[in-house]
Amino acid sequence: YPLNGAMKEEDPNMDLVQQYLEKYYNLAKYEKRVFRRKDSSPVVNKIQEMQKSLGLEVTGKLDSNTLEVINKPRCGVPDVGH
C-alpha cells in the first residue's frame, strides 16, 4: 500500500473542482469526462469563467488563490444563470 500514493495520477483537488464547476458553473457531463485533459478548452473556459465571476485573476489554471476561494463556504446559487 505505500505505493498507492505514487500510483495516483490525479490532482486531489480535481474532484472538488469538478463538483464546484458542475454545481456553480453548469459544467456539463460530457465536459466532465474530458476534464483530466489539462488543455481541455471547455474546462479551461469554465475555470476562467469562475475566476472572472469571483473577481480573481483570470488564468484558466487552478492556482492557489482560486483553490483557496473555492474551498470557502459560499452561497448555493450558481454564479451563472441557469
Partner: protein, 378 residues
C-alpha cells in the same frame, strides 16, 4: 453587480415574508431579528417595504432545511453551500432556504445568519452574484464585515437600484451627515431654531436626540454630533418615537412609541419586547408617553403624559401611589407639554418644542432657558 437572466423583479413595492421554521442553533427571536435586519438593509436603499405573515403563502418564504428538501437543489451537509434563494416570481421563486447543517450564529463565531440572510434576500429581490469581493452579493461568505454597523457596498446599492430605483430618501451610508457637511434632503436640520425632539436619552455616556427616522449621537469623545438612521442601530424599532430613557443600573435604554415600549442594550433589542405600557401601571386611558427620565440617585423613573406625570419605583417595580400629579405643580416654570427630559448634574432638562428648561429640583425653580439644540453645538 449582476442580475438574473431576463432581469426578473417584483412588480410591486410591498412584499410579504414568512419565517416557515427555525434553526435549533438560535433562539427564535434571534432568527426573527436577523431576518428583519436583513430586510432593512434592502429597504433603506429602495422603495421596497416588507411585512411579515405568520401563515399562508408569502412572497418570500424563509426556511431551514438539510440535504434534499423538495426543490431538486439538495444541500450538501456542513460547509461549502450555506444557503440558496430564488429570483422574484410566484411559488418557489423568491424563497430563501438555509442549510441547517451549518452552525448558525448571531456573531461571527459560526455562520452569521444576518449576513447570509441579507445576501440571500438580495437574490430574492433579483440580484445575482457580484464579482466584487467587497459586495454583499459576492458568492463567497465573508465573515469579517462590521456586523454592528453593516453597510451595503456601492456595488450592491447600484445593483438593487437598477431594478427598483432609489428609496424616496436615498441614503447610502448609515452616518447620514454631521454639522460639517450639508444634510441630505429630508433629514432634519440640526441647527434649525425651531427644532424640537421626539425623545432624548443617555446611552453609556453619550446622549441620543431622536427626531423622526433619525437620531443625533452626541458623544463626550467627539466634537461633532453624528446623525444616524435609528434603523442603523435597531432595525426593528419604529421611527417617530415618543420617549426614551436609560436605566444605567441595568445598562438598558427603554424606548416608547404609542402603547408599546422596547428595551435595548447597546445595539441589541432585548427579547420579549415590545411590551405594552400598561404593565407599568398606567390606566387603559393612557395611549402614549410624552417623555421619560430615570433619576439614578433615587432609582425612580418619571413618566410625563400630557400635563401630568407619574413616578415609577424601580426597586419595587411599581407605580407610586399619589400619581399622576400636575407637572405645573411640581415643576413650576416648565412648559407643560414635555417632549423629552434628561437628568444631568442634579438638574432636570425639560425639552419642550424649541426650548430647553434647566430645572433645579432642590430649589424647585427653572434656572436657565436654552434652545433645544444648544447641546448640538448650534
Amino acid at each position: 453587480f449582476n442580475t438574473f437572466p431576463g432581469m426578473p423583479k417584483w412588480g410591486k413595492n410591498h412584499l410579504t415574508y414568512r419565517i416557515v421554521n427555525y434553526t435549533p442553533d438560535l433562539p427564535r427571536d434571534a432568527v426573527d431579528f436577523a431576518i428583519e435586519k436583513a430586510l432593512k438593509v434592502w429597504e433603506e436603499v429602495t422603495p421596497l417595504t416588507f411585512s411579515r405573515m405568520h401563515e399562508g403563502e408569502a412572497d418570500i418564504m424563509i426556511s431551514f432545511a438539510v440535504r434534499a428538501h423538495g426543490d431538486f437543489e439538495p444541500f450538501d451537509g456542513p460547509g461549502q453551500s450555506l444557503a440558496h434563494a430564488y429570483p422574484p416570481g410566484s411559488g418557489l421563486y423568491g424563497d430563501v432556504h438555509f442549510d441547517d447543517d451549518e452552525k448558525w450564529t448571531e456573531d461571527a463565531s459560526g455562520i452569521n445568519l444576518f449576513l447570509v440572510a441579507a445576501h440571500e434576500l438580495g437574490h430574492s429581490l433579483g440580484l445575482l452574484h457580484s464579482a466584487n469581493p467587497e459586495a454583499l452579493m459576492y458568492a463567497v461568505y465573508k465573515p469579517n464585515r462590521n456586523l454592528d454597523h453593516f453597510r451595503l457596498s456601492q456595488d450592491d446599492v447600484d445593483g438593487i437600484q437598477s431594478l427598483y430605483g432609489p428609496a424616496p430618501e436615498t441614503f447610502q451610508n448609515s452616518v447620514v451627515s454631521t454639522q460639517s457637511s450639508p444634510p441630505e434632503p429630508g433629514t432634519p436640520a440640526m441647527c434649525d431654531p425651531a427644532l424640537s425632539f421626539d425623545a432624548v436619552s443617555t446611552l453609556r455616556g453619550e446622549i441620543l436626540f431622536f427626531k423622526d427616522r433619525y437620531l443625533w449621537r452626541k458623544s463626550p469623545w467627539s466634537f461633532q454630533p453624528e446623525l444616524h438612521l435609528i434603523s442603523a442601530f435597531w432595525p426593528s424599532l419604529p421611527s417617530d418615537l415618543d420617549a426614551a430613557y436609560e436605566d444605567s443600573s441595568k445598562d438598558i435604554v427603554f424606548i416608547f412609541k404609542g402603547n408599546k415600549f422596547w428595551a435595548v442594550r447597546g445595539s441589541e433589542v432585548q427579547a420579549g419586547y415590545p411590551k405594552v405600557i400598561h404593565i407599568l401601571g398606567f390606566p387603559p386611558t393612557t395611549r402614549k408617553i410624552d417623555a421619560a427620565v430615570y433619576d439614578k440617585e433615587k432609582k425612580k423613573t418619571y413618566f410625563f403624559v400630557e400635563d401630568k406625570y407619574w413616578r415609577f419605583d424601580e426597586k419595587s417595580q411599581s407605580m407610586e401611589r399619589g400619581f399622576p400629579r400636575r407637572i405645573a405643580d411640581d415643576f413650576p416654570g416648565v412648559e407643560t407639554k414635555v417632549d423629552a427630559v434628561l437628568q444631568e448634574s442634579g438638574f432636570f432638562y425639560f425639552f419642550s418644542g424649541s426650548l430647553q428648561f434647566e430645572f433645579d429640583p432642590n430649589a424647585k425653580t427653572v434656572t436657565h432657558v436654552l434652545k433645544s439644540n444648544s447641546r448640538l453645538r448650534c
